[in-house]
Amino acid sequence: MIFKKIQDIEKLKEISSDIRKDILLSIAEARSGHTGGSLGLADVFTCLYFSVMDHDPQNPSWKERDRLVLSIGHVAPVLYAALAHAGYFPKEELLTLRKFGSRLQGHPGRDYGLPGIELSAGSLGQGLSVAVGMALAARYDKRNHRIYCIMGDGELQEGSVWEAAMSAAHYKLDQLCVLVDRNKLQIDGKNSDVMELEPLADKWKSFGWQVLECNGNDHNELLNTFGLAKKVTSKPQVILAHTLMGKGVADIENDYRWHGKAPSKEETLRFIECLNKK
């Protein structure tokens, strides 16, 4: 059965908050993982899996489903939490993240049997090419489903991303929508210090893409923007979603040191308190 979409913003906010808690708990239990980006994308993943995409947790290989290609495999915890909350697998399994024998690999792997994983990924700069292949196939098969590719902003420093961007525009792949997690941070610090990405919107425009921007931590804005993207014809779309790394936990928001750091048990409790207050 196709997932019944939720339009109630308050309900979506609640789900995002629950997803954030599960991200913290699973990473804390694993004692390693990417906390900052996963928290920052919780609202995006909530909107996609609970309100935007056509998908069926009981039939993950349904041919007409919208695809979510996670190019930045390191934010696997937010993908896993969203999938579990959407009903793909039991939430308890989230606590096996990164452990030996787990279906929840450090970066998503299709071969481990976890339902809902579209692509084994983790080497940056590869997901968009795969999404382009999926969009070409969808159009060839005259299917209308959409392909959402989640990318990081630091990832855009990979040259292959721009090869893929060129090809998506060349083939006018309007079923393809990229969401860039524009938190402006990466492992070594600010994008602008590590390697400047601006003018980012102009780059995508000049590559032939329809560029949209929104607050990536605002459900209303996200839903509106995904809606606008879907109406675009003859062009792939990119949403520059301005997010805060670590969003929801005031102590760590916008702190690049939390890109790949796991919270301790004590911090986890404190961070969850912080989420509960909102």
Binding site: V69, G109, R110, D111, E118, L119, S120, A121, G122, S123, G125, Q126, G127, L128, S129, V130, A131, V132, G133, M134, A135, L136, A137, A138, Y140, D141, G159, S160, E163, A164, M166, S167, H170, Y171
Partner: protein
């Protein structure tokens, strides 16, 4: 039996014909172009099935990823360019997007070896076997002539479920494998029997190895000649039997001996039936410009030099 050359033909033509025929057989087969479509033998498919041909320009990394996306959508994508680019420029994409996802992607590695000739070192694939064979899930095919290239290409499309790299050359070489000899993925072929030494060769070197064996026979040395067209998964039994029955092995490849085909054979030999080995190939150096015959002579990959190397090896043995 003497194997007869039916006429010279490039193995890339066999690959191209195989893909064209596979295109007729499998409506889900799609071809990605990397700007050298005719040069890698794919123009026949592109003309016949324009709706299933996607030009992606000079962007090999993207090609490999797009192929993965097509395969995830139930297609059989073919991505071909010169082996130096296919195996090296897009190595990470092939590793993660294609092999880790275990997708049925057909990768054509053209311009194998130094017989590419005048283009020189940058375009002569001498490292692709080493890189492709180390990737989990990968099948690695290295046909010895155009007929076999076509046959293996059809099998790669029709029989395999995972990633496959097919290595082929540019130069017209003898087309000699009779249709009466069965070609099966994963199975080596004894083309000439013998008990004094085994010449185990792959790709274009198989014909040269045969000629070397005929020369050796004139001086009383009976060499067994084995064609290994599937480097991975390799036919262990045919190698173990050769080690046991001929007591020494010479491997021959148009590729670096470090990590290449000879190493693949040696991995079997040392673990199952250690015997003396000699590896003929490129010895840790780049290629250069020249006519194919000139280069084969310089790198001692022609039958005459091969014969001399084997004779020397056998003399050292005694």
């Amino acid at each position: 039996m003497d194997l007869i050359n039916r006429g010279n033909k490039p193995t890339k033509a066999g690959f191209g014909e195989g893909i064209y025929e596979a295109g007729n057989l499998y409506p889900e087969l799609m071809v990605l172009g990397a700007d050298i479509t005719a040069s890698v033998g794919l123009d026949m498919f592109a003309k016949a099935f324009p709706e299933r041909f996607f030009s992606l320009g000079i962007a090999e990394q993207n090609c490999a990823g797009v192929a993965a996306g097509l395969a995830l959508s139930g297609k059989i994508p073919v991505f071909s360019t010169y082996g130096v680019f296919a195996a090296l420029r897009s190595a990470d994409q092939i590793r993660v997007s294609v092999c880790y996802n275990n997708l049925h992607v057909i990768i054509g590695g053209a311009h194998a070896g130094i017989s590419v000739g005048p283009d020189g070192a940058t375009h002569q694939a001498l490292e692709d076997i080493a890189i492709m064979r180390v990737l989990p899930n990968m099948t690695l095919l290295s046909p010895c002539d155009a007929t076999q290239a076509k046959l293996l290409t059809l099998k790669a499309a029709g029989e395999l479920k995972g990633p496959v790299y097919i290595r082929f050359g540019r130069e017209a070489v003898p087309d000699f494998i009779p249709e009466t000899i069965e070609t099966e993925i994963g199975k080596g072929q004894i083309l000439k029997d013998g008990t004094d030494v085994s010449l185990i060769a792959t790709g274009h070197m198989v014909w040269e190895a045969l000629q070397a064996a005929y020369m050796l026979a004139k001086s009383g040395v009976e060499a067994r000649v084995i064609n290994i067209h599937t480097i991975k998964p390799i036919d262990k039994q045919i190698i173990i039997d050769a080690a046991r029955e001929t007591k020494c092995i010479v491997t021959i490849e148009e590729h670096q001996v470090y990590g290449g085909f000879g190493s693949a054979v040696a991995e079997v030999v040392v673990q199952h039936h250690p015997v003396r080995m000699k590896m003929i190939g490129i010895n840790d150096t780049f290629g250069e410009s020249g006519q194919p015959a000139e280069l084969m002579k310089k790198f001692k990959l022609n039958a005459e030099d091969m014969c001399a190397t084997v004779t020397q090896f056998l003399n050292d043995n005694h």
